[in-house]
């Protein structure tokens, strides 16, 4: 079995493949002890090759497995995964827990990419943090924001400043749903900028945990003149794309 392991800042995903068919796909939170979380995912598995990716990719060296271990970056992993699920993909957007990546593809290969800078502005962490301000579980935050109307402009995508801004908007009596929508819009604005910098071409594959958020999806679709399944392609399990790509890196060769 070839195993791809995507060690991110928020969660760790595992995809196992045999003969290019996914036979296992699992996910655990990263916690403060990613190494033993990886161990849990791998329990009972005997991979022939392990491919690590994601922020913590180099941790796989410390797993002490009796198999060939190699690493690729999450850029390459997402390009491979998205290209496998949607061979027509031209651009990939991945919004994960702590970073956002835009990747331009050519013949299924990453040719140009952009990543956010050192802070987590406008990433999954941003949504998680601001959802907390509204006391809404992160899974429901998108649905909640979709109820908003005439969203106020949120000028900051800095996680800390956005919270301050949201709080003062609430104090001014703005509808919380509308503020939530404004926060989502702020992310989209920044994301589209990043996509344009790599030369956005459709179809765009949207991967990473934030692709589960319906509000982000619908705002993104209209911002890039596309519709879901038409120009904007979303995998069934968007957070597994990195691990899938990692496994494919060796399953292809």
């Amino acid at each position: 079995m070839i195993v791809g392991l995507d060690i991110g800042s928020r969660s760790i995903e595992l995809v196992g493949m045999k003969n290019r068919v996914v036979v296992r796909a699992e996910r655990v939170p990263t916690t403060f002890d990613p190494l033993s979380q990886c161990g849990k995912l791998l329990e009972g598995l005997r991979p022939d090759i392990l491919v690590g990716t994601g922020y913590g990719r180099n941790l796989i060296e410390r797993l002490a497995l009796n198999c060939e271990c190699t690493v690729i970056t999450e850029i390459k992993a997402h390009a491979l995964g998205a290209g496998h699920l949607f061979p027509e993909a031209a651009t990939v957007l991945d919004i994960g827990g702590q970073d956002t990546k835009a990747i331009a593809l050519s013949n299924g290969k990453a040719v140009k990419f952009e990543m956010n800078d050192r802070c987590a502005a406008g990433t999954g962490k941003f949504l998680e943090y601001t959802a907390g301000v509204f006391q809404i579980p992160i899974e429901e935050f998108g649905q909640y924001a979709l109820k908003g109307e005439n969203p106020p402009e949120i000028s900051s995508i800095c996680t800390v400043f956005a919270e301050t801004e949201a709080t003062s908007l609430m104090a001014r009596g703005e509808q919380p749903e509308s503020i939530a929508l404004g926060l989502h819009k702020a992310i989209i604005k920044r994301t589209v900028n990043m996509l344009n910098r790599v030369g956005l071409r459709l179809p765009l594959v949207f991967s990473g945990g934030v692709a589960n958020n319906p509000c982000v999806r619908s705002l993104l679709a209209s911002a890039i003149d596309a519709r879901e399944n038409e120009g904007l392609l979303i995998p069934d399990s968007p957070d597994m794309v990195g691990a899938l790509g990692a496994a494919l890196h060796r399953a292809n060769s």
Binding site: I75, D99, K109, M115, R118
Partner: protein, 425 residues
């Protein structure tokens, strides 16, 4: 590098001994991790290791000995200050640019936070009493290049008197006339400082010495075009960095020896990395000692650096001074012309640089270019966009990196650089 034999000297220079020891310790460890860990390194690297281990020791001792003989020490921050003239007055010319995060908080009392790391570093080193070079200088020369430096020298002047050369911002006839008058003014100032008259013979000697140094560095640049790459980018950067500190004649001899060794290696097809290793050119802001962060990240990502298009690199070495002049005036003109060919991003327009980057990428057989700007460096961040366009038109991939001296973005940088290297494979 923590050799206590030099303690007395540092004490006399009024360094903050405790902080200075801590700095040397960190530097030593950093050097060990980044340099000594390399496999199959050149024999000539012994010279580099030695100079670096004694960068605050023996070399400073030499400067003090020169001063005891009545010679002067001139410190500079920019490759526009003509070393030929300094040498013609038997003075010692050293670079003061600093590449370490030290004294940042102190520096931020004099310059705004959004100032590039290079500026904050040289101010921080001065304020924290960490740099034996700055403390050894009889004269410090600043220059009007970027706004960051211009304003920083005003503040710096209050703690360390700084002579300012006016570097023009364009390359028109009027700008040349201004630059010539500034070169002459510098010459007069150096004569005043040293009490020596710069004769045509002396100036000619100065020109020859600096040309010979640049030729040795040009030779190194040319040899790096070989595949497999005969020397790591880290070592080559160190050579360029040391060229700003060491005695020019000794440096030239040592680098020519190192090049002889490289020629043999190239003949034997013995490289520092296998022939199929992706080759990258670095382009942009200067990397002063001990700023080895990006080269280390790049070469740890499975690539090899084959050139540095920067002031601690080819921008400083590409052009020589025409040696045919005999009279003072002819030689000054030759100097003026040579220095005005420097393609610094502070000039407008600066289109030569775009051609030079593309040309160097081709000459060194680079598979891609990493453009490096220091955070808050307007001139080079601007040009990153232009360089990207130029290279795209030539089909040469480019990655743009903006960073500073801190280590907090190293993981991010690694991912970016590794992903870029993956796209080249």
């Amino acid at each position: 590098m923590t050799d206590s034999a030099h303690r007395e000297m540092w004490e006399k220079l009024d360094l903050d001994l405790e902080a200075h020891n801590a700095l040397l310790e960190v530097l030593g460890k950093f050097y060990g991790d980044i340099y000594m860990s390399q496999q199959n390194r050149l024999q000539g690297a012994e010279y580099l290791d030695f100079v670096l281990s004694e960068i605050h020791g023996l070399r400073i001792k030499e400067l003090r000995e020169a001063q005891a003989e009545g010679r002067k020490v001139v410190g500079t921050f920019c490759v526009f200050v003509p070393e030929e003239i300094t040498l013609a007055a038997d003075a010692v010319h050293v670079g003061l640019c600093a590449g370490a995060e030290a004294g940042t908080e102190l520096a931020e009392q004099l310059v705004p936070r959004n100032t590039c790391a290079l500026i904050k570093s040289f101010i921080g080193f001065k304020m924290a009493k960490l740099c034996p070079y700055t403390e050894s200088c009889d004269m410090i020369v600043g220059e009007t290049t970027c706004d960051g430096k211009k304003k920083a020298y005003e503040a710096f002047n209050e703690i360390a008197p700084t002579y300012i050369m006016e570097v023009p911002q364009t390359k028109t006839g009027a700008a040349r006339a201004l630059w010539k008058s500034e070169v002459l003014r510098y010459l007069a100032e150096i004569e005043k400082l040293t009490g020596r008259t710069i004769t045509p013979e002396k100036l000619k000697q100065g020109i020859r010495t600096v040309n010979a140094k640049r030729q040795a560095l040009q030779r190194l640049t040319a040899l790096r075009a070989a595949n497999p790459a005969p020397i790591s980018g880290r070592d080559a950067l160190l050579v360029n960095q040391i060229s700003f500190y060491d005695d020019p004649a000794r440096f030239t001899a040592k680098i020519n020896e190192l090049c002889d060794e490289l020629e043999k290696r190239i003949e034997a097809k013995d490289g520092i990395a296998p022939a199929k290793t992706p080759r990258l050119l670095l382009s942009g802001c200067p990397m002063a000692v001990p700023n080895w962060k990006l080269p280390y990240v790049v070469e740890s990502a499975g690539a090899v650096i084959v050139g540095e298009e920067s002031c601690i690199g080819t921008r400083n070495t590409r052009d020589l001074v025409d040696e045919s002049g005999e009279t003072m005036d002819e030689m000054i003109d030759a100097l003026v012309d040579r220095y005005l060919r420097i393609d610094c991003a502070c000039f407008t327009p600066n289109s030569e640089r775009l051609d030079n980057v593309a040309e160097l990428a081709k000459a060194t057989h680079a598979d891609g270019v990493i453009h490096y700007s220091l955070l808050f460096c307007q001139p080079y961040s601007h040009e990153a966009l232009k360089v990207d366009k130029t290279l795209a038109a030539e089909g040469i991939p480019m990655l743009s990196i903006e960073t500073d001296y801190s280590m907090e973005d190293v993981e991010q940088l690694k991912t970016r650089v590794e992903a870029f290297v993956e796209t080249l494979a």
